[in-house]
Amino acid sequence: MSASVLGPSTQAGPVPVPDEGRRRFRWRRSEEPYKVNWWLTALLVVLALTIMIPLYFAIVTSLKTTDQLGGTGFGLPDRVRWSNFADAWRLTNFPNAALNSAIITVGAVVLTLFTNSMVAYAIARNMHRRLFRILFYYFVSALFVPFPIIMLPVAKLTAILHLDNHSGLILLYVVYGLAFNIFIFTAYINSIPRELEEAAVTDGASTWGVFWRIIFPLLAPMNATVGILTCLWAWNDFLLPLVILSDPGSATLPLVQYVFQTQFQTNYPAAFASYLMAMAPLLIVYLFAQRWVISGVTRGAIK
């Protein structure tokens, strides 16, 4: 994932976006002595353990030998068995699955950003025309269609069209993302003053030129939001790959865990090593890009 996808909030859009730093500053000013509530801090730290404990558990279990299992399993391993990771790597064919997940995720994110923003732009700027208004509600209404209703027909359709592979999955993420993405993109585009576009048009820019050179760059903050949400969705999704992909070799990381779980049920340390390896890539990206991820999601919520 490139840095531009998670664009830092320095590229402030036309809308004043609440920024962590600025907000804290204003707050301090209004209430001069900033008194830290230590009791609350302690409480929140203790509650945060509920999130860290399962992760800790996964790590210690992945380092044990099978005969060290048993009991509550929270103790540290007596001897660390790193080869669990090697086993999991081999048994799940990890590089292959990780590559599949990466291809699908990157493809879905890039295509979603380019296409969904464009569709939203066309709709947002023509909402006064009935056709585009209908189109807007047509796309957005898909938010309420549960996936199970299309699950069976789509599996058939993609099989017939030979799309029961990576490209088919990417396509489906892009198309099914429309419902929500149009919703948040149009809200944001409505807040961009039209004068900018009119000025560009007088200078001779075409509609395409206006979109690519003016609107798309201005959408950076929303692109970050949509990019992050699409990335999380495509990477972690289980049901869509389960029903669409036909070739086991094209399985994604969650799908591989499913197969692993059913086939090698008793090898718990290797299973946990495999879970950790499946979670690691996004977790690492998240640790470094934490601020952007959270502010990106927040921005999507405020619109």
Binding site: R26, N37, T61, L135, A187, Y275, M279, Y286
Partner: protein, 310 residues
């Protein structure tokens, strides 16, 4: 989160004093070209499958080969099928409990994370972690915790009722599923609530503090009304998501013991893909669709009415 639609979309072109005419000469083509591919793809991969699903719901198709038209027989059968009724009951139970718990917990934690605490950014970062992890994978970790660690812990503490796995007992398995659902979903809701809390003007708190309002009173009369819109969105989205619960159940119980923890989505998947009940489960998904829409709209109406009256 509201989308601004033009205040008064002009249906009669001649009555429009707005730049409808100059627009018409300037806009066309490119905008149509922008939406056309998306429309076609959406139609082919979303609308047609929906229509096909509805069509198959009136047939006895097993998913392959020829199928016979059976009218409403599938729909009638659904209402007398114990497995289906149980799946609906179970799904509604999980969805209702999880929606309420997620929102209460997320709102409480968001309030904490939005107040004067130390390590604010780090803590927010930690609380968001579950949302970047795949539910299925987290589910497998929880499954081991519920099946092995928790009973071991209970045994050593002498709590007999917990000494066997939650998940193997039909009566308690739903608790495990709700715990996983809440653990994973709270993260996203917390962030949305924090976003909402940041829109509340600080001056309101200062004013109510001068009036001597207690913290609880402040929450009830200032904070909550101000973030009512966020509450509505979170409640509606949570319910909709939890009604379609799938990964959690596959990871924790795989629908078992027997079919006791099957949600509607799991049932449709199993029956439709593995059980040769393609037509029958299509009818089930159409019914499910209707129920989700009705529940979502009702919920939206009720919550929005409350929003206004506060």
């Amino acid at each position: 989160m509201a989308v601004d639609t033009p205040t008064r979309p002009d249906s009669a072109p001649e009555a429009a004093p707005r730049p409808a005419r100059p627009d018409r000469t300037r806009i066309p083509r490119a905008f149509y070209v922008m939406v056309l591919p998306a429309f076609l793809l959406f139609f082919v991969f979303h609308t047609i499958p929906v229509l096909q699903g509805i069509y198959y719901s009136f047939t006895d198709s097993p998913g392959y080969g020829p199928a016979e038209f059976v009218g409403f027989r599938n729909y009638i059968a659904l209402f007398t099928d114990g497995r289906v009724l149980h799946a609906y009951w179970f799904t509604l139970l999980i969805a209702a409990v999880a929606t309420i718990l997620v929102n209460v917990i997320a709102l409480a934690i968001a309030l904490g994370l939005n107040s004067k605490i130390k390590f604010k950014t780090t803590l927010r970062g930690v609380y968001f972690i579950p949302n970047v992890l795949a539910i299925l994978v987290v589910g497998y970790i929880f499954s081991y915790l519920f099946n092995n660690s928790l009973p071991a812990l209970a045994t050593s503490l002498g709590i007999d009722s917990l000494s066997t796995s939650l998940l193997t007992d039909a009566k308690t398995a739903w608790i495990g599923i709700v715990i996983l659902a809440v653990w994973q979903a709270a993260a996203f809701n917390i962030i949305i609530y924090i976003a909402g809390l940041q829109t509340v003007p600080q001056e309101l708190y200062e004013a109510s503090a001068i009036d001597g309002a207690s913290p609880w009173r402040q929450f009830r009369s200032v904070t909550f009304p101000m973030i009512a819109g966020f509450f509505t969105i979170n409640m509606v989205l949570s319910l909709k998501t939890f009604l379609q619960i799938f990964d959690h159940i596959i990871a924790l119980t795989n629908g078992g013991p027997g079919t006791d923890t099957e949600s509607v989505s799991v049932l449709i998947y199993k029956g439709g893909f593995q059980g040769g009940e393609y037509g029958y489960q299509s009818a089930n998904s159409v019914l499910f669709f209707v129920i989700i829409v009705v529940l979502s709209i009702t919920q939206l109406r009720v919550l929005q009415r409350r929003e206004v009256s506060v």
